[in-house]
């Protein structure tokens, strides 16, 4: 065990990479989720088609397959993503963003119609309706499934160990082979991932509590079927 702990500098480096991938990946995912999710609520059919194509395509793709394709196939058609890190962030962001887009679309649609009508009665422009009323209220519905997706994305970063980046998983593998401490290496890496996940969840809960207070709602702790389905990789949002 002590030999494994002696490698703490490697652990720190690995954890740092895992965190970076998580943060960048969720940034990309969030932007894509908002853009394509809002596209899914558009009045124009052709904009909604953009949403459908993006969501169906990237929800149907496995992240690892996407990453391998970026890694092995894309350079052959002359497109070289200038770092493996960038390819990984893109693959994770595109995939989780597709689930996120469904969450955004479903949440906006779930804002009561009466709220939309009130914005018309106050003569808001379509942009103001979205920005001032629908999006802020939809945001409260988005947060719990977004929390699930964040954990999914963090877990997803482990795929980079299969294309040669030194993240937590790679570090555990390296230390296992250099020290022979199999149990210690792989137990420790799982515990570190767990701790990261718990910290991320704390952040999300904190945000949820704030939004609930802002909307004057009583927070509900236990997830319901709808939000579970939304957070599930491979699942649509119940809208």
């Amino acid at each position: 065990m002590s030999e494994v702990l002696d490698g703490y500098e490697q652990w720190l480096k690995g954890a740092w990479l895992t965190l970076q991938l998580t943060v960048y990946g969720s940034g990309v995912a969030l932007v894509l989720a908002l853009v394509f999710g809002l596209a899914g609520t558009s009045r124009h059919a052709w904009i909604r088609v953009l949403n459908r194509v993006y969501v169906e395509f990237f929800r149907g793709t496995a992240t690892l397959v996407l990453l391998f394709w970026f890694f092995y196939a894309l350079p052959l058609v002359g497109i070289r993503l200038n770092s493996t890190m960038f390819a990984a962030v893109l693959a994770l962001g595109l995939n989780i963003g597709a689930y996120g887009a469904e969450v955004v679309r479903g949440s906006i649609k779930a804002v009561p119609r009466a709220q939309y009508e009130a914005t018309i009665a106050l003569n808001f422009t379509p942009l103001q309706r979205m920005r001032r009323v629908l999006l802020p209220q939809g945001f409260a519905l988005m947060l719990p499934p977004f929390g699930n997706l964040l954990i999914e994305l963090m877990k997803g970063t482990a795929i980079v160990s299969l294309v040669g980046l030194t993240d937590l998983t790679t570090v555990s593998k390296n230390l296992q082979s250099s020290t022979g401490e199999t149990v210690a290496s792989f137990s420790l890496v799982l515990v570190i991932y767990f701790v990261i996940a718990q910290i991320l969840q704390l952040f999300v809960r904190f945000a949820e509590a704030r939004v609930d207070r802002m909307l004057g709602r009583r927070p509900s702790r236990e997830p319901e079927l709808g939000t579970l389905a939304a957070g599930a990789p491979g699942a649509g949002v119940a809208s």
Binding site: Q115, E117, I120, A121, F124, Q128, P136, Q137, L215
Partner: protein, 273 residues
């Protein structure tokens, strides 16, 4: 103008002020195969207060929703003032309204909903200032001043920082009324504004609306099941059934000695509950 600023002749006669009138010409509205309004014609004079009564499904609420542009008519013309609501003039031809025209027309109209529909993501003050600031371009200070004045009017000055969920139904509805007035509409639509309230809260909201009706020169269209309130507030009562006007007249006559059997049946049924 909000009633606080204007306060013209109290207890003045109807037909005052410069508020626009309303005219329906052969208006048709269908929901699927169900025709709610069949070639409906009626006129509301500028500054007139009209109450629409009738059984549920008779099309009263649809009239308000058409005026608020929440529903689109399937035929006919609706005028607010001199301009058609759902149509505009282009090269001498009447064409369906675009968003810009609707935006212009909506400036004249305000609505209070049965379920209040306050924005839960904003406190009371922001509910009142958001529209004036973002839509009318009123400077913040002025919007806040106006909001304070309106909260005084509705008797909720102390709730300015409260959150909608901290208010009772009656208080929420009073804020919603203030929110509608903050947009300085010339036509105010009241859609069963006391139906969702607990009985003990109804009176407060009704008293407020009576004051507003007395002090302002708004054109008022009101759908309600509260006949005493309708009597107090309106110059004229229209009785609807199946998308048509069955009977109309001043409230004293409509409630006192209605001439149509259907009106008598309806009033009896309402009073019995």
């Amino acid at each position: 103008m909000p009633p606080t600023d204007t306060t013209p002749e109290k207890d003045a006669a109807p037909l005052r002020g410069s508020a626009p009138g309303i005219r329906f010409e052969k208006v048709i509205k269908r929901f699927g195969s169900n025709t709610v309004l069949r070639e409906l014609d009626f006129t509301v004079a500028p500054g007139e207060r009209v109450t629409l009564i009738g059984p549920s499904g008779s099309g009263k609420t649809t009239i308000l929703r058409l005026l608020m542009t929440l529903e689109k008519p399937d035929g006919g013309l609706i005028f607010v003032g001199d301009d058609p609501l759902w149509h505009m003039d282009r090269g001498g031809k009447r064409v369906p309204a675009n968003q810009k025209h609707l935006h212009e027309m909506r400036k004249r109209i305000g609505m209070v909903f049965q379920q209040f529909n306050l924005f839960p993501n904003m406190n009371v003050l922001r509910n009142l200032t958001e529209g004036p600031m973002r839509v009318l371009g009123v400077p913040r200070d002025e919007a806040v001043e106006r909001a304070k004045g309106l909260l005084d009017l509705v008797g909720l000055a102390d709730k300015i920082d409260a959150h909608p969920s901290q208010l009772s139904g009656g208080q929420q509805q009073r804020v919603a009324i203030a929110r509608a007035l903050a947009m300085e509409p010339q036509v105010l639509l009241l859609d069963e504004v006391t139906s969702a309230l607990d009985p003990e809260l109804v009176v407060g909201v009704q008293d407020l609306l009576r004051d507003i009706a007395r002090q302002s020169d708004l054109t008022l269209l009101c759908v309600t099941h509260e006949m005493t309130f309708a009597k107090d507030i309106s110059d004229r009562v229209l009785m609807f059934d199946q998308g048509q006007i069955v009977e109309e007249g001043p409230p004293e006559r409509m409630f006192g000695e209605p001439s149509e059997q259907r009106t008598r049946d309806f009033l009896q049924a309402v009073l019995a509950t």
